[in-house]
């Protein structure tokens, strides 16, 4: 799968936008990415290991849910993550 990082999260992955990973589900793919880039972990996950709610994940152009994050996917799956925050 390919995980695409955008926006404010880019700095946690050395500003590399696309990341090719071998993973069976989007969730395991995201976890692997945070192993590779430890600084990304805190931005993506809270203390209990859940994805922080302001991070929006898309799987093949569909907004992901807790269910779809754990579904097995094809090798050519594209997972896109954006942190959608705006200021006051």
């Amino acid at each position: 799968m390919v995980i695409v990082i955008s926006g404010a999260l880019l700095k946690f992955v050395n500003y590399q936008r696309e990341h090719k990973l071998e993973a069976s589900t989007p969730w395991t793919g995201i976890k692997e990415l945070t192993t590779k880039f430890p600084d990304l972990k805190n931005a993506l996950f809270d203390e209990s290991g859940e994805l922080r709610k302001f991070n929006v994940v898309y799987i093949n152009k569909e907004k992901a849910s807790a269910n779809t994050l754990n579904l097995e996917v094809q090798n050519d799956t594209k997972v896109e993550i954006i942190t959608a925050i705006a200021g006051g």
Partner: protein, 386 residues
């Protein structure tokens, strides 16, 4: 909206904006230019009057002593205030302070809501939102260190609405231990807190201020959020604010158009009123179209907020952001065209149009900078089909 729904809605608005309140708003209008000139905040006395007249408590839930107006009703009250009252800062403050109070009421933290939120009802306590730094939220430099039953805060927040008026600040800081964003209530009188008023281009009566926190040591029970949910908490606060602020803006846009229409009707050029010229009519039409489209977006967003039908509150919502974006653009277009039609008269103080331009530009960077809104919306458009 159905005629009967609109009638019922306006009836609720009129209950809030009764004759006594209208007289008060008229006084706020008449004293606005002088406050603007001196960069003087809306006074505590006037805010207390706003509380006594129930403006400040209109959107506070009934269970906590407010009128319990929903988003649609409160938004329409603010729209009317924008249309009637000349002071943009007044609209900003009477929407912001209750919004912070409501966040505290929603926390169900009895200690904090008794200490900081209930005072909105009688105008005795005002809390400002302390979030903005000169960086993104992942790099906030303001930090908190846990120290037993206390927490110690150091840092700076560069722009707080109502900061020089507020009694306390709902402050977003990075926890040094967990690296998460915490939310903590800091009193203006806590040792180590320095408040510096800021002179701004517009909205000069909003009490904008910078706060510095130097080893501010306070009890840990003033933590509002300490489980890593700080950023979500901020977004939950900010998303509806985009629409609520836009509600006031729609009223201000209507006020501006009315002023312009009045001017072109009575101003004679080459023996004819300006209003008879096609170019003037076209400009007014353009302004009206911008107003109507902004109004539709705001009213739709208010309806969706009321019905809790917008997406996850913790992420920046496309709809509320698009509404805010459109309102700011409409406001800027309307003030620009008014300038073009009114000429030198618009440029001169105390004609309010020059102040409306200065006030309006505050929204380009405030409540979600226009640029960031576009970027976030654009990226999400790349990722998912409409």
């Amino acid at each position: 909206m159905l005629e009967i729904e609109e009638k019922n809605l306006m009836s609720k608005v009129e209950q809030v904006l009764d004759q006594e309140v209208l007289t008060f708003l008229d006084r706020i209008t008449k004293t606005c230019a002088e406050r603007d000139k001196k960069c003087e905040p809306i006074s505590r006395e006037d805010l207390a009057t706003s509380a006594a007249s129930k403006i400040l408590s209109a959107s506070i839930p009934q269970e906590f002593g407010g009128a319990g107006l929903n988003f649609m009703e409160w938004g329409r009250v603010l729209e009317e205030i924008g249309r009637i009252c000349d002071d943009g800062s007044f609209g900003l403050l009477v929407s912001m302070f209750p919004a912070v109070a409501n966040t505290l009421f929603e926390s169900k933290n009895d200690y904090l809501l008794n200490r900081y939120a209930k005072g909105i009802l009688d105008g005795s306590t005002f809390v400002s939102f302390a979030y903005t730094e000169s960086t993104d939220a992942f790099n906030f430099q303001s930090h908190l260190r846990e120290d037993g039953d206390y927490v110690v805060i150091n840092g700076e927040k560069v722009m707080l609405t109502g900061g020089s008026i507020a009694d306390a600040f709902m402050t977003y800081v990075t926890n040094e231990g967990s690296n998460d964003l915490n939310v903590v209530m800091i009193d203006a009188r806590d040792e180590g807190v320095e408040i510096e008023p800021i002179w701004t281009m517009g909205l000069r009566s909003s009490g904008f201020a910078k706060i510095r926190m130097k080893n501010v040591r306070i009890p840990a029970n003033r933590l509002l959020v300490n489980n890593g949910g700080g950023l979500s908490h901020a977004q939950n606060f900010l998303n509806p604010r985009r629409v609520v602020l836009s509600s006031w803006s729609v009223g201000r846009i209507a006020r501006t158009i009315n002023m312009c229409a009045d001017y072109v009707n009575r101003t004679i050029r080459y023996t004819n009123p300006l209003a008879t010229y096609g170019s003037v009519q076209s400009a007014l039409g353009e302004m009206r179209i911008a107003y109507e489209s902004a109004k539709v977006m705001v009213h739709t967003s208010l309806r969706l907020l009321t019905a809790n039908q917008l997406g996850l509150a913790q992420e920046e919502d496309d709809h509320t952001s698009a509404t805010k974006f459109r309102c700011v653009e409409a406001g800027m277009l309307v003030t620009q065209r008014t300038f073009e039609l009114m000429g030198g008269a618009a440029y001169c103080h105390p004609n309010p149009i020059e102040r409306y331009v200065r006030d309006g530009l505050g929204s380009v960077s405030g409540a979600g900078a226009q640029d960031i809104v576009k970027i976030n919306t654009g990226v999400k458009t790349l990722f998912a089909s409409l």
